[in-house]
Symmetry: none
Subunit: 104 residues, 4 copies
Amino acid sequence: MLGIELERESEQPLKRQIYQKLKEQIMSGKLKSNDALPSTRELSKDLGISRNTVGEAYEMLIAEGFVINRQGSATRVAEGVYMEQSDLFALCKTSLPKRMLKAD
Amino acid sequence: MLGIELERESEQPLKRQIYQKLKEQIMSGKLKSNDALPSTRELSKDLGISRNTVGEAYEMLIAEGFVINRQGSATRVAEGVYMEQSDLFALCKTSLPKRMLKAD
Amino acid sequence: MLGIELERESEQPLKRQIYQKLKEQIMSGKLKSNDALPSTRELSKDLGISRNTVGEAYEMLIAEGFVINRQGSATRVAEGVYMEQSDLFALCKTSLPKRMLKAD
Amino acid sequence: MLGIELERESEQPLKRQIYQKLKEQIMSGKLKSNDALPSTRELSKDLGISRNTVGEAYEMLIAEGFVINRQGSATRVAEGVYMEQSDLFALCKTSLPKRMLKAD
DNA sequence: GTGGTCTAGACCACG
DNA sequence: GTGGTCTAGACCACA
């Protein structure tokens, strides 16, 4: 659905993996402001995990303001959380090890 | 002082160059929460530019919430703006063109 | 302006009176997050006292994080400092002497 | 154990009731800095509810900084979260309905 | 339909 | 012992 693949053997808890994948898609602009996330029921079924776990990942996104939810309606991407690609690359150059980046 | 080097010939205005360098150091964790930025007076002297230019760069950081300015005290790095290297790299992989990153 | 009345004969110093009144209005929600406080110039004129005194009251609020001061703009109410009336009353019931509260 | 009584019929979710009671005891000084909270296992057994629910209440306290926890050890009250009784009463006078307070 | 809450289990890593 | 995570159910209120 969203191209999310989980690794059961990872040290990262499942809820954190989901949180990260969604946050990436939001910050990179794949999920845009006001886009609806899949329902917890849908995504949990899709990933083959418990609905609670998806719910916890959504709570993390809510807590950090990436996502908004209202009673009885879908969880949606908040506004103003997109990061410019140019800023992102500049940031990479200073904070990622050189072996990860190609020469300019 | 902060390892900032400006390029006078760059297309990027000086204030944006300063803004980016500081933002990078903040997001990458070199400048940590509550660290004080140098005063505009100090930094402008250090870089050999106008204090106004530094002030404008600081305002950009304030406007985006990376930095906080309390009455009568130094401008300080806000909380919760540090980005985990793992998160950053994950974000790059999904949102930067492949030509910029080395293969895993 | 904010319904602040000072008592010159009180044991409480003026700056503490101002501090308390503003803190109350903030915690009770009369002043909401991001609301601007009046400028020190304005409020001091309004109350007929020195601008320094108002400034000191503001500093106390800043020091406790109730209020934020961003470069070149008004002093504003911080986020997350509002206290639900229900929470407040519950807190009173456990921590204030009974003689101060009416029976339920 | 901590004098917590839950109301199953309340509109307030159980986790919020627990959160509130603990927050009160912390802000009022009954639970002091570095005091250990009961373990989630203990408290859940004591209250006759699921350990998950207690854990969620603890998470809320952690998120707001009232409480701190480290791997494998007890959850403890954070520092600097106590509220002076005089400030509390002053706050009550402005933000609680008069019918709740006795005359001065 | 949606999310919010709750249960009664389980296994893990840390100390 | 502790908290952290996860499961597979359940019932609720809201729209």
